[in-house]
């Protein structure tokens, strides 16, 4: 008698235990999913389905507020970023910039020129499979520093170079 009863209830309790574990796992999963979906925009610049120009960030007039508008913290200087710029730019209207990042999982690259009227010059959110190696040309108002900021693996890195501008090119 007893054994028969036991064998009847036991599987039932087992099942309940399994269900409870499953529920916990599901809740945990949902929690982390929620967290990551909240966490991501803060670290910004995952490739959006429909890219929307981040107006707030582009209208900032100094580096700190531009970083803030992007939801970024202060970056750490890194020698893994290769920022190539001319030492002397004769024409500030066309200054070639190239940026290569040697770290894994690069999500986006930003170019900032804090002495220009607007700090943020370019922002490149990278798709998976796109190499963290880009080149473009920027305008510089005067002799100033150029900062490349790389968001990789949830962290922010930067590299800075000074460029002497002979003829300002804010036009």
């Amino acid at each position: 008698m007893m054994t028969a009863e036991l064998s009847r209830t036991q599987p039932d309790e087992d099942r309940r235990l399994v269900l409870r574990c499953l529920g916990l796992a599901l809740a945990g999963g949902a929690g982390t999913m929620l967290l990551s979906s909240f966490g991501r925009p803060a670290l910004a610049a995952d490739v959006p389905a429909k890219p929307v120009w981040p107006k707030d960030a582009f209208t900032c007039k100094d580096e700190a507020s531009a970083l803030k508008a992007l939801g970024w913290e202060a970056p750490v200087a890194s020698d893994k970023i290769t920022l190539v710029l001319p030492e002397i730019a004769e024409n500030g209207a066309v200054v070639p910039v190239s940026i290569t990042a040697a770290m894994p999982d690069v999500r986006s690259i930003a170019v900032m020129i804090p002495d220009n009227p607007f700090t943020l010059t370019a922002l490149f959110p990278l798709a998976a499979g796109t190499a963290p190696d880009i080149a473009c040309r920027v305008k510089m108002a005067k002799t100033a520093k150029v900062v490349a900021i790389v968001a990789a693996g949830g962290k922010l890195y930067s590299a800075t170079r000074d460029v002497k501008v002979t003829l300002g090119g804010c036009g």
């Binding site: 490739v47 981040p54 066309v94 220009n116 010059t121 370019a122 798709a127 880009i134 305008k139 804010c170």
Partner: protein, 103 residues
């Protein structure tokens, strides 16, 4: 009118290197014309490169990008003959699109 976009995409070992040149004034809004009037800001804000329904590269630009902007990048997983669509939009709502083939 010819397209404002010129692009060259070359595949090598599954990697596609893309170089593009767009014809655009990229006025910063700080320059004056001959009469001393300020030329209003007019610049490209977003450029996207799309291949086989996937955006491989996005560029967000401010007014400090040079006139007739040049851009170079590369992506993996592309092959010769793939279509590559380049689109840009500027702050006045103008835009242009060009589809090319990876060479």
């Amino acid at each position: 009118m010819a397209s404002t976009i010129r692009v060259r995409a070359i595949a090598a070992d599954g990697n596609v290197e893309v170089q593009s040149l767009i014809r655009h004034p990229m006025d910063s809004g700080f320059m004056k014309n001959d009469k001393g009037q300020i030329i209003p800001a007019h610049f490209i804000q977003t450029v996207t490169f799309e291949t086989k329904g996937k955006i491989v590269f996005t560029a967000f630009w401010g007014p400090a990008i040079s006139k007739d902007p040049y851009l170079k990048f590369s992506y993996q997983g592309g092959a010769k003959g793939d279509p590559l669509t380049i689109s840009w939009t500027d702050n006045e709502g103008m835009s242009d699109t060009l589809t090319t083939k990876v060479a």
